[in-house]
């Protein structure tokens, strides 16, 4: 058995990049289909069987569209911002284990690209850094909707990072480690975390929706209020990169929720671990679309109210209670 080499890591990184980009593209298709079904429509139907090739058509459209840069914009920042979003989303994914370790061609492959022993914090930190994508995009484009979008980005991310961190603190205390792999092992010997920490699960979900900028919390680009927020002036592949980043973040949050709260990739009755986690991730992804189809946006002030007056106190209380229970 060989150890993983630098080459292996590079191969893995490229694989993750390719697979996640593909899944993100496929995610747009799924999203359109699911939303359509929930409104009793058909969704994309004409390009390919059941509209499956719509992804390719969208890709071609995005690539061939004019890459438009407004005259008064800060050109460099305007061009860099989407890359930041996509890059941070992918870097966050690199520290997330998705599958059980496996052996291929006689080479032992751990399923994680970078096994930092503070996995959770790293992912959170990277998603926090992801705030610069929308922020710089909004500030550089010399557009009032962009500025409003950027302001909302800063407010939203700062507030909800607090909630994510505090809500995850209680499970971290129970597991006693920051490594996502340890979380998975914990689930092997204990009931799923969601049954022991239901409050933390709900809080994490809410904050996750906010951090991935999904309805009901997609205030950064709420078309009814601020056109497209930070993405107002973007077109073509630069806009596409924001999109890919958003979907990669959705996948990250789904994976995190599956591993921390829903038992991860441990075998489930007769279902092997790798299938179980795919099902869990798929369910979390579906949940995001489901919520988008069902619930309206919240107002920005309600949103802040929710973060600071409801979720944060709840999270703190949850942490304190968990601490007391652990101590006793």
């Amino acid at each position: 058995m060989m150890e993983v080499t630098y080459l292996g890591i590079i191969i893995k990184a490229i694989l993750i990049l390719a697979i996640i980009s593909a899944i993100a593209g496929f995610g747009t298709y799924i999203e359109r289909k699911v939303l359509a079904f929930m409104q009793r429509r058909l969704g994309p139907m004409h390009v390919g069987p059941y509209g499956l090739l719509q992804i390719a058509a969208d890709g071609i459209k995005l690539f061939t569209k004019e890459d438009f840069i407004p005259q008064n914009a800060n050109k460099l920042m305007f061009m860099v911002a989407p890359v930041i979003t996509a890059a941070t989303a992918f870097i966050a994914l690199s520290a997330v284990p998705v599958f059980p370790d496996f052996t291929i061609f006689g080479i032992f492959v751990p399923s994680i690209a970078a096994d930092v022993n503070i996995g959770i914090l790293f992912v959170l930190g990277m998603m926090a850094a992801g705030l610069y994508g929308p922020l710089l995009a909004g500030m550089s484009q010399a557009n009032k909707w962009g500025i409003i979008g950027a302001a909302r980005t800063a407010a939203q991310f700062i507030s909800y990072e607090v909630v994510t961190g505090l809500s995850l603190l209680a499970p971290i205390m129970m597991v006693g480690s920051l490594s996502l792999i340890d979380f998975n092992h914990y689930n092997e010997t204990h009931p799923w975390m969601v049954f022991m920490q239901p409050v933390a699960f709900v809080l994490f979900l809410i904050a996750g929706f906010a951090e991935t900028n999904r309805t009901p919390f997609d205030l950064l680009e709420n078309e009814a209020e601020i056109i497209a927020g930070y993405a107002t002036e973007y077109s073509g592949m630069r806009w596409g990169m924001f999109f890919i980043g958003e979907y990669a973040n959705m996948i990250t949050v789904s994976v995190l929720a599956s591993i921390i709260f829903l038992g991860g990739y441990t075998d489930l009755w007769f279902i092997p671990g790798w299938l179980a986690i795919i099902l869990k991730i798929a369910f979390m992804f579906f949940l995001m679309l489901w919520v988008r189809a069902s619930w309206p946006h919240v107002r920005p002030d309600q949103f802040m109210w929710l973060a600071w007056k409801v979720l944060m106190p709840l999270a703190v209380i949850n942490v304190v209670i968990t601490g007391i229970v652990i101590m006793v």
């Binding site: 079904f37 929930m38 409104q39 009793r40």
Partner: protein, 207 residues
């Protein structure tokens, strides 16, 4: 439906369901209680249930609402005022227009331009008749004023084309001579749509 049925105009009110909404809380404590009650009674999940139900209905029972438009088309009402049609006389196949010029005169948008001459049999004949669809506001006056029911509005609403002229010439609007048999008479303004009986509903107002 019997007449009696129609006489009762208080439709709907019998089925109104009053929601027992609490008054909006003013004190902080009241708001707090409301938030807690609403969160614990899982009101949000109702919305999720509705969408899931619709999705299952759509997928399992085929209750999709989509019309695949270019392949399927919904019938449009007879009152719809789309691109004009010029009709022919059923017996002779000659166009109906007698060149009276009323439509040209009444057109508020000055869209119609026509020219006539005396034909061999001393009958006024249309030598030129065009409607400028860049100006036409589809008001329907021309069709209303026409004494011969010669110009009417048709149902052709897909008006995207490379040139406006594709619609606006007399020959284009005229019923093709080989389709004379299938030429449908304009039911006239105020006529009801074909499926009106199935669509009819009582006005849900008490007055």
């Amino acid at each position: 439906m019997s007449l009696e049925h129609f006489k009762n105009r208080n439709v709907g009110t019998q089925n109104y369901r009053m929601l027992d909404l609490d008054p909006t809380p003013v004190t902080g404590w009241g708001q707090f209680k409301q938030v807690v009650r609403r969160s614990l009674s899982l009101e949000l999940l109702v919305g999720l249930k509705v969408t899931l139900r619709e999705m299952l209905k759509a997928l399992l029972f085929g209750k999709m609402h989509t019309t695949k438009y270019p392949f399927e088309k919904l019938p449009i009402g007879p009152r719809y005022r789309a691109i004009h049609e010029m009709k022919r006389l059923l017996e002779s196949g000659h166009y109906r227009c007698i060149g009276c010029g009323l439509c040209e005169k009444i057109c508020p948008a000055d869209a119609i331009r026509m020219d006539t001459h005396y034909g061999e049999n001393q009958r006024k004949e249309v030598s030129e008749y065009t409607i400028n669809f860049g100006r036409c506001i589809f008001c329907g006056y021309c069709a209303e004023v026409c004494p011969e029911l010669a110009i009417v509005h048709g149902g052709r609403y897909e008006t995207a084309s490379e040139q406006r002229a594709s619609f606006s010439l007399f020959e284009d609007m005229l019923t093709p001579i080989d389709q004379l048999k299938s030429q449908r008479e304009f039911p006239g303004y105020g006529s009801v749509s074909v499926n009106a009986d199935t669509n009819i509903k009582k006005t849900p107002l008490a007055y």
